[in-house]
């Protein structure tokens, strides 16, 4: 039973507000973000847009709010077809979006930020007028914010309120909020929801993007679920349960005809010997009570502890944005935690430089291969030695690089990892994503590490490369290495890991063998519903 029902369903004068048909979006690098998605929106309704990362939620709403054009498909309203070429046009039409990463200008105050989105450039800003308007709005909406402090000095929750106020000043008919509650305290969430209900009752259409199942139950009238860019479910909230939604989100379509979308055999690595993990000795990686702040200043890694032994793959699953990136950064020298311990074979790895961490035996396959993993204008060979370019084997007298030896090494890598490229002198940017990733994997493994931290290792790769990399990781595990695998691809994590942890809002919700959880439980955990709460409900 949802709160909405408890409060008594609003009188349904809902009319069609807009309809999106066949929306497909393909980005310039080839990623297919949306596949023929259809969506109907009515007035007086709060729609939850549910899905994992990469499902296409943000893309769809960016299209609706005028930031991106669809590659195919169109949007219509009862007044006729709609096509926006800029967010401004969408705003004029009545569609406003509150972004997950706020569209605010740091050094400006709240009042100035709002003034920015008003008309007429050469008006002296009547800040006084804007302030008055905002104060009225704050009364009405219950959102309180200091108006004369630079935004960058405000807490994230306050910043978000400014963002919402900014949109509200434009009197929108469709309000889109992208993961609004991720930065709010429970009290603030209640206030926000109360505001949303008031707006809904007045006739506003609202889209709430979220991956939190409880929220969906609490506030929405209808739920739309996206998975891998496709619409897999569109139901009234009252007619469904958290469990069903969890299933939809992670991969079993409601319709029995479509069937489950699990890793096919050809995507799974050949079964390894999979010997039981020997946990009798000391773990290779030991993390205790690790806590880190993220870029926004919030606690993104919250008291995380784990141990990884040799010969095991430890997988971290969860919707992106729950602290996985910050966890990896803390363990690979890119972020200094505020408390906790982490050691590799007994030696500390927190707060030291990447160079030192490499010396301690950590190899890292980074999440962002272009920023961290490769120097794109460099050749294959030059990238292959990044980090190991000081090896004695590669050096001659006077710091000369022995390119013949390096090239031989690279050719061997290309052979072993089936990297398809013109040769060691091919520029790295000419390689496909899959081959680039294989290059990085090959390079990192050449370091003969004690532990491999693999962050989103198969993201954006073709099936062949993805399979290859998974195979490699399994082989490394069989050879006795420890592997920390962080991936938003749930199927991958489940298939490869010996133990998994599900991360939500910086905490490990549950750590256990993957067999012990069924799909539904996983979905619930990823959505923030822990065991105890389940039982209580």
């Amino acid at each position: 039973m949802s709160d909405t029902q408890m409060a008594g369903a609003p009188p349904v004068q809902a009319t069609l507000y807009l309809r999106a048909e066949g929306i497909t979006k393909v980005y310039s690098d080839g990623t297919v973000a949306l596949k023929a998605a259809d969506l109907e929106l009515h007035t007086h309704e709060i729609v939850g847009l549910l899905g994992e990362n990469g499902a296409g939620k943000t893309t769809l709403t960016k299209i609706l709010s005028g930031l991106l054009p669809p590659t195919q498909g169109f949007v219509t309203s009862p007044q006729g077809p709609i096509r926006f070429t800029s967010p401004r046009e969408a705003l004029d039409f009545g569609i406003g979006m509150v972004h997950q990463h706020f569209a605010l200008v740091g050094p400006f105050t709240a009042a100035e930020n709002v003034a920015l989105s008003h008309e007429r450039p050469f008006s002296g800003i009547r800040l006084a007028q804007t302030i008055k308007q905002l104060e009225e709005l704050m009364e009405e909406s219950g959102l309180r914010v200091p108006l004369n402090v630079p935004i960058e000095k405000l807490a994230v929750g306050e910043q978000q309120r400014v963002e919402i106020l900014k949109v509200l000043t434009r009197d929108v008919d469709l309000l889109i909020l992208d993961e609004p509650t991720s930065v709010l305290t429970p009290l603030e969430v209640d206030e926000l929801f109360a505001l949303l209900r008031r707006l809904r009752d007045k006739g506003t259409s609202i889209i709430l993007i979220t991956h939190k199942l409880k929220e969906v139950q609490t506030i929405t009238d209808r739920v739309v679920v996206l998975r891998h860019g496709e619409m897999v479910g569109d139901v009234k909230t009252a007619d469904t349960t958290t469990e069903q939604l969890a299933q939809l989100m992670v991969g079993q379509a409601l319709d029995p005809e479509t069937g489950a979308v699990e890793l096919s055999d050809k995507e799974l690595p050949q079964t390894s010997t999979s010997a039981p993990v020997d946990r009798s000795g000391a773990p290779i990686l030991r993390v205790a009570n690790l806590t880190s702040r993220g870029n926004t200043g919030e606690i993104d890694v919250d008291d995380v502890s784990l141990e990884i032994f040799g010969g095991e793959i430890f997988g971290v699953a969860g919707v992106e944005g729950n602290g996985q990136t910050e966890l990896v950064e803390s363990l690979t020298g890119l972020r200094v935690p505020i408390s906790g311990e982490a050691t590799i074979n007994g030696k500390n790895i927190l707060g030291i430089s990447p160079r030192q961490i490499y010396r301690l035996g950590v190899a890292h396959i980074p999440e962002d291969r272009w920023q961290l993993g490769l120097v794109l204008p460099f050749t294959l060979a030059e990238n292959a030695i990044l980090g190991i370019h000081q090896w004695e084997h590669f050096k001659g007298p006077l710091a000369f690089l022995r390119w013949n030896r390096i090239n031989a090494h690279v050719r061997e890598l290309m052979d072993r990892f089936e990297i398809r490229a013109a040769g060691p002198s091919a520029p790295a940017k000419s390689l496909s994503g899959g081959n680039q990733q294989k290059l990085i994997v090959g390079r990192e493994l050449a370091k003969d590490p004690a532990i491999i931290v693999a962050s989103q290792p198969t993201r954006g790769l073709d099936i062949g490369s993805a399979l290859y990399i998974r195979q490699t990781l399994t082989e490394m595990r069989d050879k006795g290495r420890a592997i920390l695998l962080v991936s938003a691809d749930l199927d991958e994590v489940l298939a490869l890991s010996d133990r998994i942890a599900i991360m939500y809002e910086g905490k490990f919700m549950r750590v256990c063998e993957p067999e012990k959880l069924d799909r539904e439980q996983i979905g619930l955990l990823m959505g923030g519903v822990s065991q105890e709460q389940e039982v209580a409900a």
Binding site: L67, P87, A103, V105, G106, F108, E112, L116
Partner: protein, 297 residues
């Protein structure tokens, strides 16, 4: 040092301040919007020359106008190359400087003497007698303008848009602001002001054009910008201080006994700039996206 000397120094300083202040304020507008133009030196030089041409043709005011037009044109070119055509700002600036050097040297030859040319009296913007001696009315312009620009940046919506474009272009874009167009306006206007400063040098102050007339003033103006933290009022102050040092350098050269060689005094403005720039960092805050071209998706 007599009272007369001091008055004289201040007078010279005020005159020297004008091109620096105008150029610096113009660059502040451009940098606020996110574009870093080191071609200011070239703009000063070119518009000093074209200002001269305009003045010869139609009198001092025409000269100033032509100078402004030249500066605006170069500013426009700069911003088009670096926004719509996603060019490299540093390289463009260097190119402008090189081109200007050649253009002015070439042009001077066309006018007669290689290397310099006198501005005929009729073409000069006369100086006005005051209690401090003969001063150019442009000084007033240079004194008032920073206040206007300051008001503009802080209190109009357009000023906000400028800052947003330089600080957080994505946010501004989402609010419906056309980043490229804003940057275009900003740098064009910045160029216009620098052009006015250049024309002033030939038509209203020094009365001649040499192929080296700018003498690094464009770069000193940049230093003023750094010193000011993008505050036009502070830039005015910086410009006056540098003008003062230049005046001091001239004064020392006239002393019968030369305690310090003239060259060292000439060095002073640059040393001061260096000190200021080294010391000022940390206190000063620049737009986050300064010098970074903006792309949407």
């Amino acid at each position: 040092m007599s009272w007369n000397d001091i008055v004289s120094l201040v007078r010279i300083a005020l005159h020297a301040m004008v091109p620096l202040a105008l150029t610096a304020v113009g660059e502040i507008i451009g940098e606020t919007a996110g574009l870093f133009n080191i071609g200011l030196e070239g703009i000063l030089l070119m518009s000093a020359f074209t200002g001269l041409l305009g003045a010869k043709a139609g009198g001092p005011y025409v000269g100033l106008l032509v100078g402004m037009g030249t500066g605006a044109f170069v500013g426009l070119l700069f911003s088009v190359i670096n926004t719509y055509w996603k060019g490299i700002q540093m390289v463009t600036g260097i190119g402008i400087n090189l081109f200007a050097m050649g253009f002015v040297a070439f042009g001077l030859i066309q006018l007669g003497a290689p290397g310099f040319h006198d501005v005929p009296i009729e073409a000069e913007l006369g100086k006005v007698p005051t209690f401090m001696g003969a001063m150019s009315p442009m000084i007033l312009v240079a004194l008032i303008l920073p206040f206007l620009v300051f008001w503009f940046l802080k209190r109009t919506r357009a000023g906000l848009m400028l800052k947003a474009a330089g600080e957080a272009p994505e946010a501004a874009d989402v609010s419906g602001i056309n980043i490229n167009r804003i940057r275009l306006y900003a740098t064009t206007f910045g160029g216009l002001l620098a052009g006015l400063g250049g024309a002033y040098m030939s038509v209203a102050w020094l009365g001649l054009v040499t192929k080296d007339l700018s003498a690094g003033r464009g770069f000193i103006a940049l230093a003023c910008v750094v010193f000011s933290g993008l505050n036009p009022l502070l830039a005015l102050l910086a410009a006056f201080i540098f003008g003062l040092f230049q005046a001091l350098a001239e004064w020392v050269k006239t002393l019968p006994s030369k305690p310090i060689p003239g060259q060292f005094v000439s060095m002073l403005p640059y040393i001061v700039t260096l000190l200021v720039v080294s010391g000022a960092i940390g206190r000063v805050r620049f737009p986050k996206e300064l010098g970074v071209p903006y792309k949407r998706e």
